[in-house]
C-alpha cells in the first residue's frame, strides 16, 4: 500500500518520548475537543499527529514476528487491515456486533475491532490469511466452498475463523449447538443453513480442524 493511501497511518508516525507526551497531554485534551477547522486554521493538523505517543508492540501474526510502533488507539483490526495489508479480516460494524472481524489470539476467537492492538503484546494472532497450509485450503474453507456457505462473502472470513474455533472448542456437536455458538457472526445474505451444513461436514470430514 502506498504511503499516500494511508489516511490514518498512526503506526508510522515519528516517535516522541513519553515526557513530551505528558507535557502535551493537556494540550491534546483541549485540541481533541476543538473543531477540526480551527485546528487547521492554526496550521496544527500535522502537529497534533506528531504529538501522539507511540508504543512498542511485539506480536506474531500468522507465524510472522512483527515489531511495531503504534498509537495507543489502534485496534487489532485496523493494525491488520491498514498497516499490515491483511485485509481478509473485515470491518463490519466496528462495535463487536457482527463478527466479521473475528480472529484468533493464542487460539481463542475474539472480535479484533474491540481489541486494542497493544493488548496483543507477546501473543500469536491468526487471521483468515493464516489458516491455509500454503496453497492447500483449510478443511473449513473447503467446506464453505463446497456447501455454498456464503453469498456476498463479506462475513465469510469471520464466519470461517469462528467456525474453526467452534469445532476446536467442542461446541459443534449438533446443528443446534452450532447455531448457538455461531450466533456472534451475522450474515446479511442469510447463508446460515449452508454455513451450518459446512461446519457439520468439516467436523465430520476426517480432517483435523
Amino acid at each position: 500500500m502506498a504511503e499516500n493511501c494511508k489516511p490514518a497511518s498512526l503506526a508510522t508516525l515519528p516517535e516522541n518520548p513519553r515526557r513530551t507526551f505528558l507535557k502535551q497531554s493537556s494540550l491534546l485534551a483541549a485540541l481533541a475537543f476543538t473543531p477540526a477547522a480551527f485546528i487547521n486554521a492554526g496550521g496544527g493538523g500535522e502537529e497534533i499527529a506528531t504529538t501522539l505517543e507511540k508504543m512498542p508492540l511485539q506480536v506474531e501474526i500468522n507465524g510472522v514476528a512483527h515489531q511495531l510502533q503504534l498509537d495507543s488507539r489502534v485496534t487489532l483490526l485496523d493494525l491488520l487491515r491498514e498497516e499490515l495489508d491483511l485485509t481478509g479480516t473485515k470491518k463490519g460494524c466496528d462495535h463487536g456486533q457482527c463478527g466479521a472481524c473475528t480472529v484468533h489470539i493464542n487460539g481463542v476467537r475474539v472480535n479484533s475491532c474491540l481489541t486494542l492492538a497493544l493488548t496483543t503484546e507477546g501473543k500469536k494472532v491468526t487471521t483468515i490469511e493464516g489458516l491455509a497450509d500454503g496453497n492447500k485450503l483449510h478443511p473449513m474453507q473447503d467446506a464453505f466452498i463446497k456447501f455454498d456457505g456464503f453469498q456476498c462473502g463479506y462475513c465469510t472470513p469471520g464466519q470461517i475463523m469462528s467456525a474453526v474455533a467452534c469445532v476446536r472448542e467442542g461446541h459443534a456437536e449438533t446443528p443446534d449447538q452450532i447455531r448457538e455458538y455461531m450466533s456472534g457472526n451475522i450474515c446479511r445474505c442469510g447463508a446460515y443453513s449452508n454455513i451450518v451444513d459446512a461446519i457439520v461436514a468439516a467436523k465430520q470430514g476426517g480432517h483435523t480442524i
Binding site: 485534551a29 501522539l52 508504543m55 498509537d71 495507543s72 463487536g96 455461531m182 450466533s183
Partner: protein
C-alpha cells in the same frame, strides 16, 4: 477516539497507583469500554491495562468459590467447579453476548459495563447518565428495552448483564482493593438505582479495583433455570430475564433464589417472592402468587408496557422449569 496514554502494570499496587492520577480507567476485556470510547461516550486520558495482574482464576475457598475479576466469561461458564456447584451462573453466562465477546469479557468488566440505552450512546441526545442535567430522552421516547422497577425521573435505563442477575441471586460478594486496602461489598449493594445521580452506576469508589467475586456455598446446584427472553434466539440483550434456583425437599421449597434482568438499573432481586415461596410446595399456583408479589411497584413507560405482563409470566416459567 480521543488520544490516551496506555500503561500495563505488572502488580496490583502499581495498577492502583496508576489509576489514582487524573481521568483514567482500568482496561480489562475492553468489550464495552473501547466501544464507549469509539462512540465518544467515554474519553479517559489514560488506560491502565490490568490484564497482566494474576487474578483470572477460579478456586475453592473454605466457604465457597472465588472467581478472579479477570476470569473470562467463557472460562467461568465452562469451569468444572462452576458447572458443578453454581450451574445457575454457568447458564447466565451462556445466555450473554456472543462466544467471541465471552472469550474477551471479564467478570469484573461485566459488572462495570454501562447501560445499552440508545440515548446513552447517542451523544446528540439528552441523557442524564452521560451528561448530568441534560434530561432523559428515554422517558417519552423509545423505551421498549427500559426499566419497570426502581426508576427515577432522571433515568429509566437498565443494567444489561446476565451474569450479575445470577450473582445477585447467589448472594455473591464483591472483593475490591483500593489505596486503603480491601473491602467487601454484598452483590446486591454493588449496583445502585439511578435516583438523582444516574451517572453513578455502582458504589465502587474512585481508584478502587474489583479483584474477585466470592460465591458462598449453597445447596442450589440441582434445580436451576436462567430464562432469557429477547428479540432473537441468541446474542441479544434481555427484554426480561429470570434467574431461578430452588432447593427442594420432595415437592417442598426449602430454599429459593429469584432475580430478574432487563427490568431495573441494577440486577433485581425478588426478596418478597422468595419469602413467600419458602416452605410452600413447588406448584404453579404458588409460583403465580410469587410473581404477583414480585410485580408490586412496577411501572412502565409506554413502549415497555408489555414487560408488565412478560415479567410475571417469565417468573412463573423460570420457576416451573427450575422445579421440573
Amino acid at each position: 477516539m480521543n488520544p490516551f496514554q496506555y500503561t500495563r502494570p505488572a502488580t496490583q499496587k502499581t495498577a492502583l497507583a496508576e489509576i489514582g492520577k487524573g481521568n483514567s480507567a482500568f482496561l480489562a476485556g475492553g468489550t464495552n469500554l473501547l466501544d464507549l470510547m469509539k462512540a465518544g461516550v467515554a474519553s479517559p486520558e489514560k488506560l491502565v491495562d490490568i490484564n497482566n495482574l494474576p487474578m483470572a482464576g477460579v478456586e475453592k475457598t473454605l466457604t465457597g468459590l472465588r472467581i478472579g475479576a479477570l476470569a473470562k466469561n467463557s472460562t467461568v461458564a465452562d469451569h468444572e467447579l462452576i458447572r458443578k456447584n453454581q450451574p445457575l451462573l454457568s447458564l447466565a453466562f451462556q445466555a450473554g453476548a456472543s462466544p467471541q465477546l465471552r472469550n474477551m469479557a471479564t467478570v469484573g468488566g461485566n459488572m462495570m459495563q454501562r447501560t445499552r440505552c440508545g440515548y446513552f450512546y447517542d451523544t446528540t441526545m439528552p441523557c442524564n447518565k452521560r451528561q448530568p442535567g441534560t434530561g432523559c430522552a428515554a422517558i417519552g421516547g423509545y423505551n421498549r428495552m427500559h426499566a419497570i422497577f426502581g426508576t427515577s425521573d432522571k433515568c429509566i435505563a437498565v443494567h444489561p448483564s446476565d451474569m450479575c442477575v445470577a450473582l445477585v441471586a447467589l448472594d455473591a460478594i464483591v472483593v475490591v482493593a483500593g489505596s486503603k486496602g480491601e473491602r467487601k461489598i454484598p452483590f446486591g449493594d454493588f449496583h445502585r438505582l439511578p435516583g438523582d445521580i444516574p451517572e453513578k452506576d455502582n458504589t465502587l469508589q474512585k481508584g478502587e479495583l474489583i479483584i474477585a467475586v466470592d460465591i458462598p456455598d449453597n445447596n442450589l446446584g440441582q434445580h436451576v433455570h436462567y430464562l432469557k427472553i429477547r428479540d432473537r434466539t441468541s446474542y441479544a440483550f434481555a427484554l426480561v430475564s429470570v434467574a431461578a434456583a430452588l432447593q427442594l425437599d420432595g415437592n417442598t421449597i426449602k430454599e429459593v433464589r429469584l432475580a430478574m434482568g432487563g427490568v431495573a438499573h441494577k440486577p433485581w432481586r425478588l426478596a418478597e417472592a422468595e419469602k413467600f415461596l419458602k416452605g410452600k410446595t413447588a406448584a404453579e399456583a404458588n409460583f403465580k402468587q410469587a410473581a404477583t408479589l414480585a410485580m408490586k411497584g412496577a411501572k412502565s413507560f409506554g413502549e415497555n408496557d408489555f414487560k408488565l405482563t412478560m415479567a410475571p409470566n417469565a417468573i412463573v416459567e423460570a420457576l416451573s422449569r427450575a422445579a421440573g
